[in-house]
Amino acid sequence: MKFGIVVFPGTWSDRDCFYSVHNICGQDAVYIWHKETDLTGCDCVILPGGFSYGDYLRTGAIARFSPVMEAVADFSKKGRPVIGICNGFQVLCEANLLPGVLRQNEHLQYRCQWTYLKTETISTPFTNKCKKGQVLKIPISHYEGRYYAGDDVIKELEDGGRVAFRYGTPAGEITAAANPNGALNNIAGIINKQGNVLGMMPHPERSCEDVLGSVDGNIIWESIIAGI
């Protein structure tokens, strides 16, 4: 299958995403410059991490107006898989492809560290290879990663089983201490109503090799590959 990796000015996880899906998982991958509008041939679109447009106005706020985002919206409407990682998650929220926002971390500091994600649903194209409740060791790296939404949205997400991952302990307990940024309900990743768009703050592309400390990110790529 073929992954399309969107590159905005200021994106930096593009190369890591390419490396993990192509060199590690053996799939085709292409970079898609933000001015392009043609996603033909792509089976899955990745919006990678970074600081699109320097994140100067508000994270993801300018990137959502890039020409490629219209194509991404059309792609998602067709029910095809879109995954936004870190800045990509922020862009998806700004583009209204996912509900809610990502606010500054509660402690007002950047955080780069390993996190342990409890998989809350395995009936998505991104988690179908996970075991129920499986804990994935995947790192975060962000300043604005505190998931926030109104009570009604949170209820809808929780009731609809749309929280994909929560920050937890290595044993899978969801505790305040395991929450690295103050996200509501320890939310690390969510999916849209149709179930084909995932946004997550942690970086699966950084945890695909033993030598880098974890291979758990591969489960997400393998799930996507299995679903195509």
């Binding site: 000015p9 320097g54 500091q109 950047y110 780069c112 880098l212 400390g213």
Partner: protein
């Protein structure tokens, strides 16, 4: 009309230097020429006080491809057609005036030095020194500096993988902010920073030019700190997003064959970029400042030539390729403007709308006078190197636990996690050993089995008390850290942070430190490939500790054969490699300062013993024999053992080799030592190997349980160690 005293003061030139300019030109310089001379002859650009001393460093060796001064950074050959370029640079003065932007633009500057050469910046490191955190101003400085490094580096997507932070009151008015960048690439993609080929075009790309950073090189970096309070406008403001675009655009450009050279506008802006490139290419340049895009109106040619606005590069484009180059930069949303041409007359011709405002030979501009000072050994050194042990009471055995906890919590020893977790240290998918896990960072080289290490080191206290020995140790400790990861040290970069070079005692410190470093570099086969000098680090006549900072890169042949500092498995045997020495090892130690308020007493080091230890470590790790290795440094043996417990989350039970003073045995900082752990079945192998290398080996105890036990001395839960160590900064 000769320049006034005020004019000369503004650009930090002496009357004698001015007279030299007049005699070289055969006339009075124009205003623009004077500004250009002032910048290029500043210590920061011209190294006029340090050049003679820098010649002492060994600069060639097996791995060296590009030596110091030849290009923006030194380059080593790591085999398979791949090369690594790296360099460390100071941004001390700007960071004192405006900590966030000072540190941020320090990162920006050193990153440009790397990608200018066609190498992709992969890793950052930083070496920081502050005054005690009890002073709120120091907290403000540190908060700003760390924020600036994080804010700039994280936005670029370059992993910030290692560094150190030390505190001492001598840095209160003089913080040190040294930033290192490392890049990797293919040898054929290396790009030179030279302007050659008459008729080729000079293009300026990136940010517009403003009034920020005027006199950064001549003003800030060439004055002592108390003169700088009103110089905030000399600090530049960084735009990491623009830099990120420049990285991608320039790396694309260096693979096209459309250019002959690439140079960043760093200190002294367009002046140094253009003149240094022309000098390297044995060419002249004809530049019209009216063609330089500006961010404010009414700038004079003088201001345009000296502006240190960030995120700008000059590109020397082959004639006929300018449109293609412009299209490439347009795609990245970056300006590119032709501002002049390369000439073959050896002259720097600067125009303003065609009218000549400066016309001076490039060679004159770029050859500042070189000063030789007579280093004079300060008389106070003799006393400082003595330790009267009758006056220093030995500790009581029962106090071991309490003292250990106190040392672990000391700002110089405690965990720096609060800082490094604010830096993205994993982007790039190369980071194998993360900050806090080992003595150095380990990064793998994609699509090979190889890896390299990166570490920075520099103990100002040792250098203050004994600059020669301190210089040796700065290099030796970096190499020991490297060897503890299983890597062979390859080369170093260094940042020489000293006081006012016009003082004989400061020149003595510098001379001795450089001699010590050079001795170690020769013996340990780690030549100097790049570096930077930061002088005038003093406030009200009080200089900082002489603080040479060493950045070292080492090579691991097989990334699987690497080592980290934490204990691994229950029952593993723990050994000390090296000799604990005598009570003199307390000299200049963390313990002595913390417990007795003393910074005195000289350390000793034997480079042969040091080299043997490294060879043993590298060999033992290469054979897969060691499960952990941790260098014995700040806080001595007891702290090293405790850190291996903390990092590994394991307990330890054992004895200390008892002899002489207990404080020296526990907390003395004797050099050339490491604590290692191995499978109990491998004891014989390690002992044989150590014997062959002539390295003393002492069994200390066993890994296991949840407590840290030194028989008859201390018995503490590992959690208590963790708590003390984690709560510091």
């Amino acid at each position: 009309m000769p320049a006034s005293k005020e004019q000369l003061e503004e650009i930090a030139l002496s009357r004698k230097e001015y007279n030299l300019i007049v005699s070289r030109l055969g006339r009075e310089p124009t205003e623009v020429e004077l500004g250009m001379f002032g910048s290029l002859w500043s210590e920061h650009c011209g190294y006029k006080h340090s050049k003679a001393l820098l010649k002492l460093f060994p600069t060639s060796g097996k791995y060296v491809l590009i030596k110091p001064g030849e290009e923006n950074a030194g380059v080593i050959d790591i085999g398979d057609g791949q090369v690594i370029g790296f360099k460390i640079e100071s941004h001390n003065h700007p960071s004192y005036i405006e900590p966030y932007q000072g540190a941020a633009t320090g990162v920006g500057g050193i990153v440009r030095d790397i990608f200018t050469m066609g190498l992709r910046p992969i890793a950052l490191a930083n070496s920081l020194r502050f005054g005690p955190m009890s002073d709120p101003h120091n907290r403000y400085l540190m908060g700003g500096v760390v924020g600036g490094i994080a804010g700039y580096g994280n936005c670029l997507g370059i992993a910030d993988v290692c560094g150190e932070i030390y505190f001492d009151s001598c840095y209160s008015g003089n913080p040190l902010v040294n930033a290192l960048c490392l890049g990797i690439g293919r040898q054929e993609d290396l790009t030179r920073a030279r302007a050659s080929g008459a008729g080729n075009l000079v293009m300026l790309v990136g940010a517009d030019t403003g009034r920020d950073g005027l006199h950064g090189a001549s003003g800030l970096a060439s004055r002592t700190f108390e003169e700088q309070r009103e110089l905030r406008s000399a600090v530049q403001v960084g735009n990491p997003f623009m830099e990120k675009l420049l990285i991608e655009a320039c790396l694309e450009l260096t693979r096209t064959g459309w250019i002959v050279g690439l140079q960043d506008c760093g200190a002294a802006g367009l002046t140094s970029a253009a003149i240094e490139a022309a000098d390297k290419g044995d060419s002249g340049l004809d530049i019209d400042v009216a063609r330089v895009p500006r961010r404010e109106k009414g700038m004079t040619p003088y201001e345009v030539m000296l502006s240190e606005s960030q995120e700008r590069m000059i590109v020397i484009v082959k004639k006929g390729y300018e449109d293609r180059v412009r299209v490439l930069f347009d795609r990245w949303g970056l300006h590119s403007d032709i501002i002049g041409t390369v000439t073959d007359d050896g002259m720097a011709t600067i125009r303003d709308e065609g009218k000549v405002v400066a016309h001076a030979p490039v060679k004159y501009l770029n050859s500042p006078p070189v000063y030789r000072f007579r280093p004079k050994r300060p008389s106070w050194l003799d006393d400082l190197q003595e330790l009267d042990f009758n006056k220093i009471k030995d500790m009581k055995p029962a106090d071991t636990g309490k003292l250990l906890l106190r040392l672990l919590a000391s700002p110089n020893i405690c965990s720096k996690r609060q800082v490094f977790r604010q830096y993205d240290h994993q982007v790039g998918n190369n980071s194998v050993v993360l900050p806090g896990e080992g003595d150095a960072a380990v990064l793998r080289i994609q699509e090979t089995t190889k890896a390299y290490t990166l570490v920075t080191d520099g103990n100002g206290r040792y250098c203050y008390v004994n600059p020669l020995v301190g210089g040796v140790i700065a290099v030796a400790e970096a190499a020991r850290n490297t060897a503890c990861m299983g890597a062979r040290p390859m080369a170093i970069t260094n940042c020489l942070n000293f006081g006012n070079p016009e003082r004989n005692d400061v020149m003595y410190q510098m001379h001795q430190c450089i001699q010590g470093m050079s001795q170690a570099c020769r013996r340990l086969k780690t030549p100097v490939v790049s570096g930077n000098v930061s002088l005038y680090n003093e406030t009200r006549g009080v200089a900082i500790f002489p603080t040479p900072v060493v950045g070292m890169v080492g090579l691991i042949k097989d990334v699987k054969r690497r080592c980290t500092a934490g204990f691994k498995d229950e029952g593993d045997a723990v050994f000390l490699l090296g000799d604990t020495g005598d009570e003199k090892s307390l000299g200049s130690s963390e313990y002595l300062e913390l417990l007795h308020g003393m910074v005195r007493g000289t350390q000793a080091i034997d480079l042969s013993a040091e080299k043997s230890l490294h060879d043993l470590l590298i060999r033992a790790i290469g054979r897969g024999l060691l499960k952990s290795a941790h260098d014995c440094s700040d806080g001595g043996l007891a702290v090293t053992l405790a850190e291996s417990c903390i990092i590994g989350g394991r307990g330890f039970k054992g004895d200390l080799p008892a002899h002489g003073r207990l404080d020296a045995a526990l907390f003395g900082e004797a050099q050339s030592r490491a604590v290692v752990s191995i499978d109990p079945g491998a004891v014989r192998k390690l002992e044989d190997m150590a014997f062959k290398h002539g390295v003393p080996v002492t069994r200390l105890g066993t890994v296991g349980g949840g407590r840290f036990i030194l028989k008859g001395l201390a018995d503490l839960p590992v959690n208590d160690l963790v708590k003390a160590w984690s709560g510091g900064v």
